[in-house]
Symmetry: C2
Subunit: 429 residues, 2 copies
């Protein structure tokens, strides 16, 4: 890789120079293959760029390489737009800033449209798998009328109907103020945080794995739904059969390589629109609701994953990469590159590194206890979430939309160089 | 409206200061109501901001007001992201530049992701109703692997299967080169340009209007499909029943106020993914295809409609607004504000105006001949389309993606101030 090649890709998004993979390294045969390939290519150090899973892998690889005296070092770098790789060593993962700003640009545009046409409720689902960091950050950047935070849904033990009621109540109260439009932010993983749905999905994962052959030969979705229903326990079967067919079908779609449901394929935003509509129809009949409700659904995922990086992310990545190379030249292995003091200007950032083992916890995976990096969920006592709670009523009843516009590279630093509200609030003195 | 109020909204997108409506003014009672309201409020001139329909309205209103000697002037301003209000007087409508740049930012991001993960085909449907100007401009800005242009589909009399074959062929050839990923741009109105679908949709419009009461009482989509099928002629019934249920249901959704199908609600991108998948499965069985095909669907509409405007659109709108006010002070009515020489720097732009009647044609509407402004479709002999044709094979077989990134307001003029490829190519000497 010459300087000329690298320069073409510098400060651009994505991984189109080196590619990207999702294969999990779990078996010794795979580890040995890595050693073999590295030795063949004369590679003395590997830099693993990824989230909690990839860096857990990096740690395991480093230990194995050391034990085998292969001489190959492994350094981890925190990358995930989801923002859930965060701990004492890692203030934020790169990509989170850019993804949130890109989604917030789009949410802002939609809010401007909502406030111009004044006739639609836009239900916007945002990528981010389990944790709701993206949803929370985008809410702070755009001030929508309703923001669902999965971690809160789980803590309160909310049902789907509770969620629908919460949204329908906002629609009703806004209608009383003359507003028949609004925006609702939905984290893509929320269905897995509704206890009854979580249980249903876990059962479906097991059933679809156990009866793979039987299900594969069924021709229609209806046949598959009927078959699966008979294998569920009574409670889950009741939930499953109460869902609209299209949504139930999505819950049965192909699992990911780890046997989990692919939350990005589940159109929760459409389900919620249908359920809110049905609830408001009932309330209208009962004379409790006199407004109008018309929903539009959106899902933002891939649009924000490989966006041209914000100045913050470009600076952060450059510093992380440089730090990783220093850790290698210092002979470290099993370390994660770390850059701290990130809300200060870049020349005051503090590069460093720490053993990945420091971040490991024992968790049950496939029935076995394994050391893994714990996913950081939204802290319901943290300042970013409390900021949302503090403003929730005001943002719901009024129209306090912010329109952040597109990421800027030039112009005043207050526009182009600041990072997320999340990080600023977390680090506020 | 004080200067202070206006300043807060200057150079921002959308219509949240004045709101936006879609009500068509067609009856004299409505015209009289406008006069009454204007007189009550002391309004001496109306500025109508909109596309072909709104400006047709502006023209009719102006004539009526003059005939009634109301003394109220009417001036039109060309606004539509669709880019289909374009003629000798109007070089482009405002909003087209911003919308295309916003969509192209997102398409570029998705292409970067496609080229990083190297495992998905992204089918991206773009707003723009009938005309494919947005799709064509975005293709020129991002160089995707496949671009469908509705006007070409109609000219060639293509069937859905022809479209699917075209895409499947590209997927096959790319797989032979080792590429199992790509991007496909789809104009939202394309189904209305496939002759058999156009006929089906026209029949459905009539049937759903004629049997409104009968259809309204049917409980399920299946019942509605069965009922509608019996009313279609043989050819359309065959097309209708061959469609996947979900798609057939979308074709039966509520019509817009003009009785037309709402193309934004029809998920053509999902239909095409399913059909391409089915075709490739057959080819795989026949040993003709050895690659992989996995589709991801996207629809971009509202995200680009009220975006923060590009410098070009902000300058253009300001000039149009100022020009409209000059036309009013000159006593004109029934004129459209016009600004020419738009690919030159803004200080060389040429403001002016022309009677809207100059743009009118007689067209059949609801069985009657009426004067309307003709929608400008993509010119299949024009330079923008020919540029696409010239590069089509190369962009399909190779990976020539461009990643335009977000709209910039600061920095070099070559980044922040240039307008669309469409306009540049149309005006190239």
């Amino acid at each position: 890789m010459s300087r000329e090649v690298v320069l073409e890709y510098r400060n651009t998004g994505g991984f189109d120079i080196i590619g990207s993979g999702r294969t999990k390294l779990e078996e010794e045969a795979q580890f040995d293959k890595v050693i073999e390939n590295c030795q063949k290519l004369g590679i003395k150090a590997l830099v693993v760029i990824g989230g909690d899973d990839s860096n857990t892998n990096a740690c395991v690889l480093a230990e194995y390489f050391a034990q085998k005296k292969s001489g190959i070092q492994v350094i981890g770098v925190p990358k995930t737009i989801d923002g859930d790789l965060k701990n004492e060593v890692v203030e934020t993962s790169f990509g989170f800033d850019t993804a949130c700003k890109t989604y917030s640009e789009l949410i802002g545009n939609i809010q401007r449209d909502a406030n111009s046409a004044k006739k639609y409720y836009h239900f916007i689902r945002l990528m981010g798998r389990s944790a709701s960091h993206i949803c929370l950050e985008c809410a702070l950047e755009t001030q929508p009328n309703v923001t669902i935070i999965s971690e809160e849904v789980e803590q309160k033990g909310m049902t789907l109907d509770d969620l629908v009621t919460e949204i329908a109540d906002v629609v009703m109260k806004r209608a009383e103020n003359g507003y028949n439009f609004g925006t609702v932010l939905i984290p893509e993983g929320v269905v897995e945080f509704v206890p009854a749905m979580k249980k249903l999905i876990a059962s479906l994962n097991d059933i679809l794995a156990k009866y793979e052959a039987e299900v594969a030969v069924l021709e229609t979705n209806r046949d598959r739904r009927d078959f699966v229903s008979t294998k569920l326990d009574e409670e889950s079967a009741e939930v499953f059969t109460s869902l609209p067919n299209a949504f139930a079908n999505q819950l049965m779609l192909d699992r990911d390589p780890h046997g989990n449901v692919q939350v990005s394929m589940i159109e929760t935003e459409k389900l919620l629109i249908d359920m809110v509509k049905a609830k408001l129809k009932k309330r209208k009949k009962a004379g409790e609701f006199n407004g109008k409700f018309s929903g539009q659904s959106h899902f933002f995922g891939y649009e924000g994953r490989c966006a041209t990086p914000s100045n913050f992310d470009a600076d952060y990545c450059f510093t992380l990469g440089y730090t990783a190379s220093l850790l290698i030249s210092e002979g470290k292995t099993g370390y994660m590159a770390s850059v701290k003091n990130l809300t200060a200007p870049a020349d005051q950032w503090i590069p460093g590194g720490a053993p990945i083992t420091m971040m490991m916890n024992m968790e049950r995976r496939h029935g076995e206890m394994k050391p893994v990096i714990q996913k950081a969920l939204v802290d319901l006592k943290g300042r970013p979430f409390l900021k949302l709670v503090e403003n929730r009523e005001d943002w719901a009843m009024n129209t306090r939309y912010l329109y952040p516009g597109p990421i800027q590279y030039f112009g005043p630093a207050s526009v182009s160089d600041i990072t997320t509200f999340t990080l600023q609030l977390e680090q506020a003195k």
